[in-house]
Amino acid sequence: MLDRLTISMRASHVIALTFFAVALCFALIATLLGDTFYMRLASEALIFGGLALSVDFLLGFVGQLSLGQALYFGIGAYASALVLMQVPSFWLALGGAILAVLVSSLIGGLIVNRVRGIYFALITFGLAQVAAKVVYNTRELGASDGIIGIPVININLLFFSFSAANPLAFFLFVLAIIMGFYLLAAWLLETPAGRAMIAIRANEQRVAFLGYSVRNVRLGAYVFAAMIAGVSGALYPVLRGFVSPELMYFATSGNAVIAAIVGGVGTLIGAIIGSILIVGAKSVIGSWTEHHVIFIGILFMAVVLFMPKGIFGFIRERIEMRMIRKASAPTEAKTSDETGVAGKQA
């Protein structure tokens, strides 16, 4: 039986597939033209897309707005950078980042999940600020300068290896990881645990009545989202060769929120494309004026006001309608609606 969420996710997959094809075309064209700048910019946009995906997972499905998701992005980036300074192994760096994010997000999750709604937004905001200030003040972590001069490494995949300095190979690698996260998140939502997360957004009390531990489900969702952010962060120093406290600042978290909202909350793929749109817009508008924030701000507010589902939420709805019309039993699909019940805000 197909419920509404499954149809929505299938529509998301259509967009994701299109996006994947476009990304491959871009890589091909950029390689033929001998471009490295835009390829590396696109890699960076994808990495931040992972952070936006993490924000979207929490906001779109569990109904929690995190204003401090850059915390885990930063922890992943710093952990990866610290390992890379010692041993030039990507997989060790990744392992270090995963471990650091797992531990910190478990602690962070226990702290922030004590509160709900608007207080959740504020506490995530505060937590990231504290962590950013601590990093900023710690000389061992490079203080305000961050860690610079991270060596360029070779990434070993089972049968071959490539240099992180190779723009095409690294772009494809990042693309694979971020799309992997997208699929992982989509898969998780189809599992009973994922359904419980979505149910929390609709009505937290009833989830408890059904015998689920609300606390564990919330914590699980939080740690999962933090992992996506953290692993994306771990890729950052590999690409750019440095990390700085700015990665943890509110500006980074805020950009991820903007990307997720503009792209479309609850579409998963929208957040990734949204991040690319934002980075792209910054780069294009930034080439003729330094005041690009104003345009992004206006775009963001316009989307919040007039297109609450975001650009790809809007497009996805059109795709969904076509899918429903095509399906043999169109009435059945409308019965369960994951957005039907008003979420309880604190």
């Binding site: 906001l59 707005l65 702290i111 004590r114 509160v115 709604g117 608007i118 207080y119 937004a121 504020l122 506490i123 905001f125 505060g126 937590l127 600020q129 504290v130 200030k133 601590v134 900023y136 003040n137 509110f250 805020g254 929120v257 903007i258 909202i261 005041h291 924030v293 104003i294 992004i296 701000g297 206006i298 963001f300 507010m301 919040v304 006001l305 609450p308 008003a342 979420g343 805000q345």
Partner: protein, 296 residues
């Protein structure tokens, strides 16, 4: 035993500095807490309104206006801006399901735009207007700059006036009624929409006047709202979102903590400590020290 010199030249001036910061923070936090208490809006652009007030004072001073005129003019000029924001943005999404999140996002977007507009108009550099009241006075051997004394005085006056308006007047009773139960207040003839717009404009005007007052002290730059607003948020959360007394007590206590802690630990560490206080409060007492406005 603390010796007299330490008391006179280090501790006491630091307490005074903390008091000045405290009064400033309370002015900004009051607006924030009134807007939250009444409209349930987390105003992420409040820091930018504070910055607009400071830049407004700067601009008015550059055309040769007197400081006292500016002090009256800035909050008056902020009101139409605030009314516009409330009517065009906030009231538009007020009845949507996720209005907490939506209004937070809208004001966040507004903050981004406002900051960039300030950069376009005034440039990214730091300005430092002249102190309108110069000189210093010695009280019990403690030397206090006159402008700081004036700030503490006028700040207390404004805070007192706000508290009196909210708790002692008929208008304040309407505001509290609207905060407690807006449907009931509306059915009893309180013009709730007008009260909302008015409260928002009032909060913004307070931020503006704080900006104008503090410009000579903390200097003026486009991102000045960002650092300040975090502290204001902390004050509002610790005091209780929507509580006027809470903002006052928390503002004065936290600014003293920050001022005095910087005597014992490196000043850069005082900020994380203050923010950590906010997290602890959010964890264990999210309603803050005092209840919400309108709830006794």
């Amino acid at each position: 035993m603390i010796d007299a010199d330490y008391l006179q030249f280090i501790l006491a001036p630091q307490v005074i500095n903390g008091l000045v910061l405290g009064v400033a923070i309370v002015l900004v936090a009051l607006g924030l807490t009134i807007i939250f208490g009444l409209l349930d809006v987390i105003n992420m652009s409040h820091g930018e309104f504070y910055a607009i007030g400071a830049f407004g004072a700067l601009a008015l001073a550059s055309v040769g206006l007197n400081f006292w005129v500016i002090l009256v003019l800035v909050p008056i000029l902020m009101i139409p801006l605030a009314v516009l924001v409330e009517r065009l943005l906030i009231s538009r999404v007020f009845s949507t399901k996720d209005r907490h999140v939506t209004t937070l996002l809208l004001t966040f977007g507004l903050a981004l735009i406002a900051e960039d507009v300030l950069k376009i108009i005034f440039g990214p550099n730091t300005h430092r207007p002249d102190t309108p009241i110069s000189g210093a006075t010695e009280i019990f051997g403690i030397i206090i700059p006159n402008y700081r004394m004036f700030l503490i005085g006028i700040g207390s006056l404004i805070i007192g006036a706000v508290a009196y308006t909210v708790y002692g007047t008929r208008l304040g009773a309407m505001v509290r009624a609207a905060a407690y139960d807006r449907n009931m207040a509306a059915s009893l003839g309180v013009p709730v929409r007008l009260v909302y717009t008015g409260a928002f404009a009032f909060g913004v005007a307070l931020a503006g006047i704080a900006g104008a007052l503090l410009a000579p002290l903390y200097s003026v730059f486009p991102t000045m709202g960002r650092d300040f607003i975090l502290l204001a948020f902390t004050v509002v959360i610790v005091g209780g979102m929507g509580s006027i007394w809470g903002a006052l007590v928390a503002g004065l206590v936290l600014s003293q903590v920050q001022a005095l802690a910087s005597l014992f630990i490196p000043p850069v560490w005082t900020e994380p400590i203050v923010f950590a206080t906010m997290i602890v409060f959010l964890m264990f007492r999210p309603q803050g020290l005092f209840g919400k406005i309108g709830h006794a």
